[in-house]
Every structure is written in C-alpha cells, then in structure tokens.
C-alpha cells in the first residue's frame, strides 16, 4: 500500500487523536495520587479505545475474506487498519502508564511490540518495495506461478538447445524455420542437408549439450540460485559471451535466447526473494495479532475482576 497524499486525513486525524490523548495524559499522570494506572477511569478509557482500535485493525482480515461486502472500500479499511493500529500503540502505553505490569500484561506488551513493529515494517515495505519491484523485475509473473513458469523455461531452454544441436549436426528435421530460411538463402536445396550451410560442427553441438546439462538445467531446475554460476549475472554474462565466441554466428540468436531465459529465471528468483520479504512479515504480524487480541480480551475480563 502506497502511503501517499490520500492518507493525509488519516494521518492528521491520528496526530490529533494522539495530541488529545497526550494532553489528557500529562495532567492525569502528574496529579493522580496513584500515578497513571490501567484501572483508573482515564486508564480504562485509554485501554478500551486502544483495544477497540486493535479489534478494528484485526477485522481487516475478515473484511478481506468477504471482498464483495459493501462495507466500505478496501483502501479505506486498509488506511484505517494502518492508522488506528498505530494510534492504538501509544493509547495502550498510556493505559498501562508506561509500565509493563505483571506476567500477562508483560506478555501482552511484548506481543504488541512485535505486532506493532512488524506492522510498521510491513507498511514501510509495502510503501517502498512495489516501485523497486517494478523497476528491477520487468519479467515478473504471478508469484504463485513462478514454479510453473520456471518449469516452462527449462523446457524452452531444452527445446532451444535441441534445435540448435540438430542444426549443428546436420539434421534438417531438427532445425527451425528460421534455420531453414538461413540455409535457403545460402543457396542450399531441400534435398541437400543444411548442414553444410550451417557449418556442421559436432564438437560444438556436444559442447552446447554439455552446457545445457551442466549449467542451464541445474539453474532452471532449482527454486533459488542452487549455487549455480548462472545465478550470478556477471558470471552468466561472461559464460554466454564465451559461448558466442565458440559457436558460429548463426547460433548467436539461440544463445541470446538462452541467456534471456536465464535472465528471466534470475528475475523470478529475485521476485521470489522480494515477495518473501514483502509478505514474510505477515507470518509474524497476523499470528501474533490473533494471540494479542485473544490475550487482550482475557486481560480485560480479568482486570475488571481484580
């Protein structure tokens, strides 16, 4: 979510809310005989408000389960989640008088710190990373499809190498339309192998296959870099440059395609990594939020008792 001008009202509202809460807290804290306490009237107000904001922030998950419900725009819910969630943190601190209290309240405070911290981190990531994503990953795809696309890339690379090798080995059946066109333009007849025109080189063919099995397949087959040399852009560039030197110029376009496939694979790996960063914080934020709401509700009940 981009935090832009559309957040201004929420931001100003949160600042105003915080200012009012602080303005009430300072005299209350200074002049209250017992100091600031969660059980005092103002302490309970802070606690209740904070908990209501937390609950509302938690309802975002429910709202996402029912996107077609007409209960406000998703963006509005997201903004409310962000700003009310932020505001709830100082309110809860004021509720507790900036003390962590006993075992349950201490656990709650730690949970809240992690939920708040992960939320802030998430908001920052979601603000900055999408732009970064777009700039660095022109070949990105749907995250869930990455594995599927990776397999297709491996197949494409294999097919490309087979075509090239067939050309090198003189099998016209294995050559592509383009290769045939090249051969025809060189004056060869259909009943004559194009091999002569393409400068048949069995050694080069073997070398290309070896490169596919040794370098390209392990790289495209693994979800990450897999410790392969092609995972490093500079190394990859150097390797493909060397291939262009070894192979005849007519195969350079195939080599370019192979390099492009490897580039795409590297981008998919990078996309996976960025996606894990962009969404990984939710593995902390959401489970801890549920625990926080659960224990918070229990704390409210027991605090009213004692």
């Amino acid at each position: 979510m981009l935090i832009d001008r559309t957040h201004r009202n929420w931001f100003l509202g949160s600042i105003a809310g915080l200012a009012v809460a602080t303005a009430a807290y300072v005299p209350y804290s200074l002049h209250s005989p017992q100091g600031a306490r969660g059980g005092s009237t103002l302490g309970l107000i802070y606690g209740s408000l904070g908990f209501v904001f937390m609950l509302f922030a938690g309802l975002l998950g429910l709202r996402k389960k029912f996107p077609i419900w007409r209960i406000g725009r998703a963006q509005t819910w997201m903004r409310a989640h962000l700003w009310l969630g932020i505001l709830s943190f100082p309110l809860i601190l004021m509720h507790g008088g900036f003390h962590s209290g006993g075992p349950l309240t201490r656990a709650l405070m730690w949970l809240f710190v992690f939920v708040f911290g992960s939320g802030i981190l998430g908001a920052a990531l979601q603000h900055f990373m999408p732009r970064f994503h777009t700039a660095r990953l022109p070949m990105e795809t749907i995250y869930e499809e990455i594995g599927h696309v990776r397999r297709q890339l491996a197949e494409e690379a294999q097919r490309l190498v087979e075509e090239s090798c067939a050309s090198l080995e003189g099998e016209i059946s294995g050559s592509s339309e383009q290769q045939r066109a090249v051969a025809a333009s060189a004056g060869a007849n259909w009943d004559v192998t194009v091999a002569a025109g393409l400068q048949v080189d069995e050694q080069a063919s073997n070398e290309l296959r070896r490169f596919l099995h040794a370098e390209i397949e392990p790289f495209l087959g693994s979800a990450g870099s897999g410790g392969t040399r092609l995972a490093q852009p500079a190394m990859s560039r150097a390797m493909f440059t060397q291939l262009r030197v070894i192979f005849p110029a007519t195969l350079h376009s195939s080599i370019d395609d192979l390099e492009n496939i490897c580039d795409e694979k590297r981008q998919l790996d990078e996309q996976s990594r960025l996606h894990r960063i962009l969404h990984g914080w939710l593995l902390v934020h959401i489970p801890l939020s549920y625990a926080l709401l659960l224990l918070g509700a229990w704390h409210a009940v027991m605090a009213l008792r004692f």
Binding site: L30, H31, S32, P33, Q34, G35, R37, G38, G39, H99, S100, G101, G102, P103, L104, T105, A107, L111, M139, T141, I142, Y143, E144, E145, H148, V149, Q152, Q178, H252, S253, S254, D256, D257, N260, I261, H275, R276, H279, G280, L282, L283, I286, P287, L288, Y290, A291, L294, L295, W298, H299, M302, A303, L304, R305, F306
Partner: protein
C-alpha cells in the same frame, strides 16, 4: 539477435489458471501459525494458572513487605457477595495494619490503596506520591471551614510555607539563658580551669551517641531518646539528645555553695531540694566543728553585692541559718540566675521559671539529623554562631532545605516528596492490631477461611 518475445498472448498461455485453488506455502504457513500462536498463548496462560494461581493477572510485582503473599491474592483481593469483582478493600489492609486518621477535620478519607499503591515493584509503600497529599492540600478544605495550616501547597520547592517557628517574628520560648555566640568563643574557661574551644557537637549530639559528654558534670543523666509515638516510629539517631544540665553544662557551670565544702556542689534540682541539701551540709559541718559557731566569718568575695552582714551567731542553729542564707544568696543571685529565671517570693524560696526548652521545632514533620551528618552544623544553622539571645530561633528556614530537596523528577537532588518529612497517619492514635493468619495461609499453601478474607457479611 533475440528471438524470444514476451507478448501478452504468450505470457497468458503459460499461466495455469487454477493456481489460486492450490494453497501456497506462504499462505499455508500463515494459516497454521495463526492457529498455533494463539493456541500457544492460551497454553501459556493455562500453565501460568496451574503454576501460580492468579499471579499471571497481577499488574506488577508486589512491594517487598508484601512479596511473601504473592501466591495468596485473596488476602487483599476480596470477593464481594454476588459480584464478579475482587477488589482491594480497606478492611483487607486493616486486618494487619492500623491506620489512624490523619485529621479529624478532614473532609474525606482516601482509601488505603489510593496512596499506598501496590504492584509497583520494590518501592516502599510509604513512599506515597505528592499527588496523594496535594489532592487535599493544594486547596485545603476542612469540615468546619477553619484551617490552621497553609491552604495551598502543591510543590515543595515553590508553595511549601516557611516553618511556622520562623514566621511572624516568633521567638524561642526557652527560659534558660544561653548565648551561643559566647559559648563558641575561643579560650573559654572549661572544667578544671582548662581553656577550651567549644564546638556545636559538644552539646548537640544524636540521641543515639554513646560517647561521653566533654562538659558533663560529675554525674551524667541517661535520657529517653524519644517520647512520642511519632518519635518512636523513626530511628533514635534522627533526633538530638535533650539538653540536660548534668550532661552538657555541669562540667563548666559548677554549683559550689561554700568554700568549707571545697568542690561539693549543690544538686541541680528544685529550690526546695537545694535548700534541704545545703542545710543538711551545714548542719553536719557544725556538728563536726562546734567551735566554728564563734569564729568570725570572713567577708565572702563571691558576694560583693551582699548588703546584709550577719552578726556573729550565738547558737549552732543560728550559725546554720546564717550560712544557709549566704549560700543560697550565692546560688539564687549568681549561680542559678546565670542561666535560669528566678522569681523572688518575699523571704520564701524563689521559684525557678520552667526552662521550656523546645525539643521539637517541627511538630508536624520529622527531621532526621543522622541523614544529614555529612554536613557541618552551621551549613544549615548559619546564624547560631552569632546568636546572643535565647529568644533567637536558630531553626534553618525552608529555603535551606530547598537547596538540596527538590522535585524528585530532577535526578540530581535529594528526595523532595511530602513523605520525606511528613506522615499522613497520626500515629499518636495508633492501636494494636491482632494477627489472624497462619504461615501456610499467608504463603498460599493453605486455603483462607472465608471469614478471614471477607469483611462483607
């Protein structure tokens, strides 16, 4: 030349359109963690409940004095009949503590827990916040509308009034003539005709001090260090020992009454006792020296202003009478009068005005001299060395205190909160409390009997 192209059609073709029906690992993890973490939280809560009763719900550690009851929440948190709440009542506190009223004239009595805030850790419960006091004293109201005290105090360093002893030109009501200036001069004639330089602590010492008084008389007097309940509630070393003639004065101010008895001194007592002592001494003397009746009495140089000259005595009783009159003339007009105010009563023994030495200058506060032992006396009692009159009040003013004691929010100052000097409860009205718990009950290893914990019928 690159032959691969990324057209929308090509990209669309390679997408598996059913991808959203298969949960992705990240989502799977999120779901299971969302189940597991709250479950773990509940498990932790349950474990806490099993291990420590209701301690998990404590809002903080108990003070040191109550920490032993940590397992026994019900000692203080008492259930009310037909209610869910288990709040702390004053009755729960009063089961162990007495809490005398502050002032009969106060308009309301705060609950114990409003000033003595528990669950704040090892802090002293008696270290109450200033707000506990200023909630009344910032705008003091009384039941009858009359207040004998400052009515607007909210901060020690700004609105605390001057000590009443220093206001309205009040004087020291003491009736023993004492010139501090003179006593602190060099080369005073001390015991055994030695020249001495006195210092403050020759006479003013902690009541707990065990070393001897340098200017004590032949016999010293042991004095109780404290009398009142308030004094008893603080340590003995807080107060200065009372000034007693035998301890602080007798070494220099001797009470000889006749040269015949050498260094024998009259008792420092009521005139009647002095008279009886002196008479007895002369009677014993004349009994032992009957010839002295007819001996001419040389003029007494100690009595230059003595106008009346006795005729020679005819009998021993007459001789005793004359000698007693002379001795008492010396005592009443010179020796005793040097310090005491005597009222003549026309031929009868004089009346010594009660010395009335002020023992507590701050009747509504406690000052601990021991806590200030690192300072010189004149650091606070600056005008003492120059004081010539008994009536001078040598108590330092509030400004002296405020040089060090300030708002506790500033770290480099001494404690400035009300409780440092004042006590809320009037301990002179304290009553004995009677315990009602066994050790297992207090430690939480035995159940409390309902009658012990519930003050509510």
């Amino acid at each position: 030349m690159l032959r691969r192209t990324r057209t929308t059609k090509k990209l669309a073709r390679r997408i598996d359109l059913q991808y959203f029906t298969r949960p992705h690992p990240l989502r799977r993890w999120r779901f299971w963690l969302s189940v597991a973490v709250p479950a773990l939280a509940l498990g932790w809560l349950f474990t806490q409940r099993v291990q420590g009763g209701q301690r998990a719900y404590s809002s903080g550690p108990l003070s040191r004095s109550h920490a032993v009851f940590t397992q026994q929440c019900n000692l203080c948190h008492v259930s009310r009949a037909r209610t869910f709440a288990k709040d702390v009542s004053d009755q729960a506190c009063l089961a162990c503590h007495d809490a005398p009223l502050h002032q009969a004239n106060q308009t309301f009595t705060p609950p114990c827990s409003s000033c003595h805030v528990e669950h704040k850790g090892v802090a002293r419960l008696s270290a109450t916040s200033d707000a506990s006091c200023t909630q009344c004293h910032a705008r003091l109201q009384t039941r009858n509308g009359i207040s004998h005290y400052a009515t607007s105090i909210d901060r020690f360093e700004s609105t605390h009034p001057e000590f009443s002893a220093l206001t309205d030109h009040r004087i020291d009501p003491g009736q023993v003539r004492l010139n501090h200036y003179l006593h602190l001069q060099p080369n005073l004639l001390g015991p055994d005709n030695r020249r001495v330089q006195m210092t403050c602590d020759d006479c003013h010492r902690s009541a707990e001090a065990h070393d001897s008084w340098p200017y004590a008389g032949p016999t010293t007097v042991s004095m109780p260090a404290h009398d009142t309940a308030v004094e008893k509630s603080v340590r003995t070393s807080a107060f200065m020992a009372r000034i007693k003639f035998a301890n602080q004065c007798g070494g220099c101010h001797t009470l000889q009454f006749d040269r015949r008895f050498g260094d024998l001194q009259a008792p420092h007592d009521r005139p009647e006792a002095v008279h009886a002592f002196v008479t007895k001494q002369f009677e014993q003397y004349i009994a032992a020296h009957p010839g002295a009746v007819h001996e001419a009495e040389p003029p007494n140089r100690q009595l230059p202003e003595r106008i009346r000259i006795h005729a020679p005595a005819n009998t021993s009783s007459e001789w005793v009478q004359y000698r007693v009159e002379d001795a008492e003339w010396l005592l009443w007009t010179k020796t005793c009068k040097q310090c005491h105010v005597l009222i003549e009563r026309g031929g009868m023994l004089p009346e010594v005005v009660k010395s009335n030495i002020v023992e507590r200058w701050l009747p509504h506060a406690q000052f601990d001299h021991y806590a200030h032992r690192m300072m010189t006396c004149v650091a606070c009692h600056a005008n003492a060395p120059a004081s010539h009159n008994t009536a001078d009040v040598l108590l330092p003013g509030i400004k002296v205190c405020q040089q060090c004691h300030r708002d506790s929010s500033t770290k480099d100052t001494a404690e400035g909160r009300c409780f440092e000097c004042h006590q809320y409860h009037d301990w002179t009205q304290a009553k004995r409390t009677k315990g009602g718990f066994t050790i297992p009950e207090l430690r939480g290893t035995a159940e409390l009997h309902p009658a012990q914990v519930s003050p509510y019928p």
